[in-house]
């Protein structure tokens, strides 16, 4: 299945605003993160495990354990700092 990945703030500066990814059905957000880490050294640095990173599925904050559906929008970004 094909999904869209979006990045914000420092992650966007490192990887660009978005990219499309082909995934096996049932892939979780955490598995997607691992798959992206394998794409390039820049991905590996920006999305490294252990780094504080928040994620959203279809524009709602999510845990990495949730499964991604066909046509989903997944976002990775640093902890938020508004207000």
């Amino acid at each position: 299945m094909n999904i869209q990945v979006r990045y914000f703030a420092s992650i966007r500066e490192a990887l660009g605003p978005s990219e499309r990814v082909e995934l096996p059905a049932g892939t979780t957000v955490g598995e997607l993160r691992s798959l992206l880490i394998g794409r390039s050294p820049a991905h590996a640095a920006a999305l490294a495990h252990g780094k504080a990173l928040r994620c959203a599925l279809d524009q709602a904050m999510c845990e990495e354990s949730v499964a991604v559906g066909e046509g989903a929008e997944v976002a990775f970004f640093p902890p938020v700092t508004g207000g």
Binding site: A56, A75, V80, G83
Partner: protein, 160 residues
């Protein structure tokens, strides 16, 4: 038409006009609490010449709408309004407005603080400060996570 509850905008806002609109024609209102966040010229000991605010269009609005629904559920309030600016801001500029109306003051004070605590840890905004040493993304604060935990909500924004 009902007034918008949430605005994400580059433009400045007028506290007096926003409060007037929020309590217009509602004679059950006996209290208004409003918080305005502004840009400081210093952060962690360094001078700040300007600040850039980025958001996640669509998700940011949805997240704040959900926060206001939660505030209406938790507190005896009449209405709430949130405005958050994005783009390039300078020291002294206004960044964020949270305004709440209620019949009695306790609910307005509490809901205003709740909304700010929620916004700090759950709404997708990111600040980048420009300093004499260059630009830097602002780090999330563990103290903000502690603030949202007071309301019985998970505070895991700043954690690794």
């Amino acid at each position: 038409m009902a007034m918008a509850r949430v605005s994400i905008q580059a433009e400045d806002f007028d506290l007096t006009a926003e409060v007037a609109a929020l309590r217009a024609r509602d004679a059950a209102v006996g209290a208004v609490a409003a918080f305005v966040g502004t840009v400081r010229d210093r952060s962690d000991g360094q001078g700040v010449s300007s600040m850039e605010l980025e958001h996640y269009p669509g998700m940011t609005e949805k997240a704040i709408e959900a926060m206001i629904d939660e505030a209406l559920f938790r507190f005896e309030i009449r209405a709430a309004r949130v405005i958050h600016r994005v783009g390039l801001l300078q020291p002294l500029d206004q960044i964020v407005l949270v305004a709440v109306t209620s019949s009695h003051r306790a609910a307005a004070f509490q809901a205003c603080e709740f909304l700010m605590d929620y916004l700090k840890t759950q709404a997708p905004f990111w600040k980048k400060e420009h300093t004499p040493e260059g630009a830097r993304w602002v780090d999330a604060r563990v103290t903000d996570d502690d603030a949202i935990k007071r309301w019985g909500l998970p505070g895991r924004n700043a954690a690794a």
